[in-house]
């Protein structure tokens, strides 16, 4: 708990000071990642077209290119984050039971962090 210089309760201290300045962050991050995804998805489409007919050495060469590797890694970071934020809103809207809702949000975030970490490590292994 924060140390208070007065005898007021923490709630009384916070009252009237407005928000804690984080209420908008979910909404804002969803928009920021959405804007970033426009460019990243366009580049991913180019990479996917190149990869789809490629053999093993070809695919390794494409993803070993520093620019491609960096953009795929950015796509994973930004895309998985955008996904987590979006799925959270869906759960908040449709799952009425608070405990189940929280458990699902936590579970989805953990799965996405795990998949993201495995993906990033794979790209590093391919590129380095």
């Amino acid at each position: 708990m924060l140390k208070s210089s007065s005898m007021k309760t923490p709630l009384a201290e916070a009252r009237g000071l407005g928000t804690a300045k984080s209420g908008l962050s979910h909404w804002w991050h969803q928009r920021l990642t959405a804007i970033a995804m426009i460019g990243l998805v366009a580049w991913m489409c180019v990479i996917i077209v190149m990869l789809i007919g490629a053999d093993y050495p070809g695919a390794m060469a494409i993803l070993s290119h520093p620019v491609n590797a960096a953009l795929v890694m950015l796509f994973i970071g930004v895309g998985f984050w955008h996904s987590s934020l979006g799925l959270q809103v869906v759960l908040e809207d449709y799952v009425a039971h608070e405990g189940v809702r929280l458990a699902l949000i936590v579970a989805i975030r953990m799965v996405l962090v795990l998949l993201g970490a495995v993906s990033l490590l794979s790209v590093l292994k391919i590129a380095l």
Binding site: R31, Y56, A59, I76, S83, V90, G116, S119, L121
Partner: protein
């Protein structure tokens, strides 16, 4: 005793207007696209793991069912992307009136079809 009040909108008998259909489709495509994180992870792991697992991944992708999944995924991607840009315009308070909402909805549908066709044109000319 509770009074029998009407429910609104009555989803079983109420024909959703275009903006409503597009709104729920944005969510549904978002959920579909989220599952793509698993597909991307599996592909990258297969490639990082070596030639044998990569050959298996390519076989799965080249299979008609794999291609169908990829095609559906690309439709969801371009729809969600175009409609997402539409949402960004709304966030900037642009196009927030009923006629504009219908018009931008139609633009999004046409663009999504054009982009999907473009991508698959490129894929088939590359293979």
């Amino acid at each position: 005793m509770a009074r029998q009040r009407p429910l609104s909108p009555h989803l079983q008998v109420y024909r959703l207007p275009l903006p409503a259909i597009m709104s729920i489709s944005h969510r549904m495509t978002g959920i579909i696209l989220s599952s793509g994180t698993l597909m991307l992870t599996l592909y990258l792991v297969a490639l990082a793991n070596g030639p044998e697992s990569f050959a298996l991944a390519q076989k799965v992708i080249a299979h008609p069912i794999g291609m169908l999944v990829l095609f559906g995924y690309s439709v969801a991607l371009f729809y969600h992307g175009c409609n997402g840009v539409r949402h960004l315009f709304w966030d900037a308070l642009i196009g927030l009136n009923i006629p504009a909402i219908y018009k931008s909805g139609q633009v999004v549908l046409v663009l999504a079809i054009v982009l999907t066709a473009g991508l698959w044109g490129l894929i088939f000319s590359a293979v």
